[in-house]
Amino acid sequence: MDMLAGKVKLTQQSVTSAMNPSAALDRPIRIEARDVTVHYGAKQALFGISIDIPDRAVTSFIGPSGCGKSTFLRCINRMNDTIEGARVGGTIKLDGEDIYDPALDVVELRARIGMVFQKPNPFPKSIYENVAYGPRIHGLARSKADLDEIVVSSLRKAGLFEEVKDRLNEPGTGLSGGQQQRLCIARAIAVGPEVILMDEPCSALDPIATAIIEELIDELRENYTIVIVTHSMQQAARVSQKTAFFHLGKLIEEGVTEDIFTNPVHKQTQDYIMGRIG
């Protein structure tokens, strides 16, 4: 019960930080999307999305199911490339560099832009191997000691180290759902990305695990640019400094989180926030 109370307090803290958006929009722009369209075969999923994503802040995408928020998120690290028949139009620039430039290596891009998925998906390997995998394939560790160091610090940053330090060689799939999701975050951090994309990271988790992840996101934004897709407006309000509302493949409204939730410009946004659509 004490633990639960602690978590609730943590959540309140995050809310406080979101209420003072520390001038999120004053931050430099990290990702710049212009007129992004996505077609799955003949079906158009996204219609001309243009948005700027600020550096070292949390940007959340909200909207009803099927509104295209996940599709857009997956454009940012080109995960849509892996889907048969998906076509992406428009431009997305990371630090002014077009990520759809044919000369750009998608492997390198994904090392710079990490991703956390809706359902925790640790590799069916040990906890250690899960975190060590990224640094290993990208050749980031010079020695075993180096790698150990990366694994420990990544697990620490993901707030998981204390819980798993005695069983690093046990399978990652044996952890609880929330721990698995933090392991996936640690795995993403281990590569040293600049941006972390999170696709509804808490939708498969219970409220306590959700609170822990939200607190973690709040800590991570000091060092990483985070984009999170969520279907929970409360979560968007709690963790993000900037919010974008998607509906039927279009970006309806974007702005400082506080403004979106207290003073939406568009009627559709207002309806969604009031719970009238979605």
Partner: protein, 455 residues
């Protein structure tokens, strides 16, 4: 008014319960019928398998035991009058020694070793029994004289000495001892003469003939002249070579093809076409693969006839579709979450496949492969068409030598005219083949459970 309303509602609810309940009975009955049918099907299938095993074992077990004659053989200097074996040191050159040795051996081969055999048999025949030389020699297997000669070649010091020798009884004598022959049949229908039968009975009574484990079945190759010495070794080695060829060729090619088709190939009309064709190939009767092998490997590529190499290639072609389909199925079963996790970490497609997808599917691929190889091992029809049903009396030294295979050996023995002797042998050969299959499938299950336990 209100009570009416409540009564009406209750009636509707009761009516609904009655409807559900009447349907329920039918639903439970259907379930019971279906379960009963399932159990019956399983019982029937298990019953047939049990019948097969029991019948095979009942028929085959006697063949693992064979009649042996225990004789005291005197290497009579009066018969073996070829002089001492040449010694290498007495000759000026190795060539001269070889020539002398060959001459000595030829002279030995021309001797009548049956006279020595006959003398040792006669020594055991009870006094007063009338039996001709021909009748007496129908008791040991016809290759006994070669056995004695080889003993002497290996050890010329045996000259003039009497040593105990175990000799296989002939197939007919073996049948008689084991009771495979109806003893009440008339002389005209018996393979052995009355005198020979009397002597065999006497031998059995005094312990000259005893039944021992049929090592010949495992250490000898097939034989027609001396059926009692016919064994499976040649066929076993032939099958082994083919199995190795299938494993070496079909597994890497099949798995690689499946990985390419499933993970890398763009979905197009061409890949659809290839997929349909692979599925069709899996359904092609195996004898067609035999025809293909005969046409391509033997007629066109001029590979040797009856060779395990050609058999292995044909079986590889036959096994490939099975392995490709099974591997693709296994790859398809891998959750997309794992692929996304790997790609999201910046793994290349190849790294995704080899680091994550393949390790997860390895147990299924392995099982499918071993089952495919086991299936190939039991295949007979295509081998008949590439000449592997020839009678081969040597153990093939390389996959290019003539050989036969276990299932073909079963087919050949099944057709042997000495039914009484070869029916149990055939059953025994089937038991050996089934034993190999059980070992293979057991390995598959063991490897699977071990790999699945690993993280």
């Amino acid at each position: 008014m209100a009570t009416d309303h409540i009564t009406a509602a209750r009636e509707i609810s009761q009516e609904r319960t009655r409807l559900v309940r009447s349907g329920l009975r039918r639903r439970h009955r259907n379930e019971a019928i279906f379960r009963g049918l399932g159990i019956a099907a399983i019982a029937l299938a298990l019953g047939f398998v049990a019948l097969l095993f029991v019948d095979m074992t009942r028929k085959g077990i006697p063949a693992f035991v064979q009649s042996n004659l225990h004789l005291e053989v005197f290497f009579d200097p009066a018969i073996i009058d070829v002089g001492p074996a040449p010694v290498a040191s007495e000759f000026a050159s190795p060539a001269q020694y070889q020539a002398a040795d060959l001459r000595w051996r030829r002279e030995l081969a021309l001797l009548n070793w049956n006279r020595i055999l006959e003398a040792s048999l006669m020594a055991k025949v009870p006094a007063g029994t009338e039996i001709s030389s021909r009748e007496l020699l129908s008791i040991p297997e016809t290759n006994a004289r070669h056995q004695l000669r080889e003993m002497f070649v290996a050890n010329p010091d045996l000259l003039g000495r009497t040593v105990p020798v175990d000799i296989l009884a002939s197939a007919n004598a073996d049948n008689w001892v084991k009771g495979n022959i109806n003893r009440s049949l008339g002389d005209a229908q018996q393979q052995l003469s009355p005198a020979a039968r009397t002597v065999i009975d006497a031998f059995e009574a005094d312990g000259t003939i005893t039944n021992g484990f049929a090592w010949a079945l495992f250490t000898n190759t097939d034989s027609r002249a001396a059926p009692a010495s016919a064994g499976l070794l040649g066929a076993f080695v032939g099958s082994l070579y083919m199995m190795l060829i299938v494993i070496v060729l079909a597994v890497p090619i099949g798995v690689a093809a499946a990985i390419y088709l499933e993970e890398f190939a763009p979905k197009s009309r061409l890949t659809d076409f290839i997929e349909v064709n692979i599925n069709n190939l899996a359904a092609v009767p195996s004898i067609v693969f035999g025809l293909l092998g005969a046409a391509v490997f033997i007629n066109y590529m001029h590979l040797p006839i009856s060779a395990p190499l050609v058999g292995g290639l044909v079986l590889t072609l036959m096994t490939l579709p099975t392995i490709i389909i099974a591997t693709r199925g296994a790859l398809l079963g891998v959750s997309p979450a794992l692929r996304q996790a790997a790609l999201g970490m910046g793994a290349s497609k190849t790294q995704m496949v080899f680091h994550h997808v393949l390790p997860v599917t390895l147990p299924s691929i392995l099982t499918a492969t071993i089952l495919g190889v086991a299936h190939a091992l039991g295949e007979t029809a295509p081998l008949l068409l590439i000449g592997m049903k020839a009678f081969v009396a040597q153990v093939p030294a390389t996959p290019l030598d003539q050989a036969t295979a276990l299932p073909v050996q079963i087919y050949l023995w099944q057709g042997n005219e000495n039914r009484n002797f070869f029916e149990p042998r055939t059953a025994a050969a089937i038991m050996v083949l089934l034993g190999v299959m059980i070992v293979l499938n057991g390995t598959a299950i063991y490897l699977r459970s071990r790999l699945e336990k690993r993280v």
